[in-house]
């Protein structure tokens, strides 16, 4: 298990960062924002909650139900709140005993870029558009590892919305730019073909499609830890969110960086206190 100054691991699969490790996280994000500036990507900041209906629009819940985390609230009726307070709100093991819950309509962001498709829903573009956004993302897992597999983590994404050629060129350029960066900082990394962790993959047409048309590549640290990924979505989000380019569903592609996993790679490569290379 990784231990480093500035890392405090929480039993619920989340990490608190401070000091030199937090400073490195900021420098990494700044470097990715600088990368995004190469496309004049427009920066966006979105909330942590995402309307569940947005993910339903692209069938996310049927593909990745195992990862979903929902914000839940008590039904606000006074009698229901009294039932909650009169009981034992939280027991000795830390388990909450809620009374009736209010309807759940939101989900905690599972990937930063979903907000961008929702944000541009119904729009029509006449030129390629580039965006960047960062969010705290949540993925429920069976087990957690500090900085490597967390319930909540930080994801920075750069997204292209354009024609098929523009989306393809973006991924080629982004891959080349990241290769330049990783060569300069001397990390043992390589790109590998990947597929998303679909629930019941053999029954999921999107999984089948990924087998015959690879659209996801992961940047692997020591062949075991994906610290970034490139993803070609074809017109999946263009159709789902009615975003058009020259009268056709827009093609989209993204590159995503998992900040905590970059920290893990740096610690494994340079030790818990560094010195870490310039970015």
């Amino acid at each position: 298990m990784i231990e480093a100054p500035g890392l405090r691991w929480k039993a619920n699969g989340q990490a608190a960062l401070s000091g030199p490790l937090l400073a490195l996280a900021h420098r990494l994000d700044d470097r990715f924002v600088a990368l995004a500036a190469g496309w004049q990507a427009e920066d966006h900041r979105f909330p942590t909650f995402l309307a569940a209906s947005v993910l339903e629009q692209n069938d996310w819940f049927r593909s990745f139900p195992q990862h979903a985390t929902f914000p839940a609230c008590l039904d606000p009726a006074e009698a229901n709140l009294a039932t909650f307070t009169d009981g034992q709100p939280v027991d000795g093991s830390g388990q909450v005993h809620p009374s009736a819950l209010a309807p759940i309509r939101d989900v905690l962001t599972p990937a930063a870029c979903y907000h961008l498709y929702d944000h541009h829903q119904g729009l029509a573009f006449d030129r390629p558009r580039y965006f960047t956004t960062s969010n705290t993302c949540f993925r429920r897992e069976e087990r957690y590892v500090p900085l490597e597999r967390q319930w909540s983590f930080t994801m920075r994404e750069i997204v292209c919305m354009g024609t098929a050629e523009e989306a393809g060129a973006f991924l080629a350029d982004a891959t080349a730019e990241v290769d330049r960066l990783t060569t300069a900082i001397d990390l043992p990394l390589s790109w590998a073909l990947a597929s998303d962790p679909f629930f019941r993959p053999s029954k999921n047409p999107q999984y089948l499609m990924q087998q015959i048309d690879p659209t996801k590549y992961e940047l692997m640290f020591e062949d075991r830890l994906a610290i970034a990924s490139t993803n070609l979505h074809h017109d999946h989000f263009g159709r789902a969110f009615s975003i058009q380019r020259d009268g056709e569903p827009v093609r989209t592609a993204c590159i995503a960086f998992g900040i905590e996993r970059w920290l893990a790679a740096f610690i494994h490569r340079y030790g818990p206190t560094g010195p870490f290379p310039q970015l």
């Binding site: 098929a164 073909l193 053999s202 047409p205 999107q206 089948l208 499609m209 087998q211 015959i212 048309d213 690879p214 074809h234 017109d235 999946h236 569903p249």
Partner: protein
């Protein structure tokens, strides 16, 4: 079926499932996934159609990248001469 008949059957299936495909498309070497003539929602149905054409089952776990890129690629992968 002869190779041209297989290719024409595949072409007809794609056209039948995509009314927006232009008159002279897809050619044998048209990238049908890149052009979105074949989407994820249609892949499973096309697999079943290929099984019908070749009169033999396919193993989905044996699918490889590129085998559905063009009509030629489908033919070469699943209809060995």
């Amino acid at each position: 079926m002869t190779p041209p008949e297989v290719r024409d059957a595949l072409r007809s299936w794609i056209r039948a499932h995509n009314p927006e495909v232009p008159e002279d498309e897809p050619a044998d070497d048209t990238p049908i996934i890149d052009r979105r003539y074949l989407t994820s929602l249609q892949v499973a149905d096309l697999l079943l159609f290929v099984e019908e054409l070749r009169q033999a089952p396919l193993d989905p776990s044996g699918l490889r990248p590129g085998t559905f890129r063009t009509i030629d690629a489908i033919h070469d992968a699943f209809f060995p001469s």
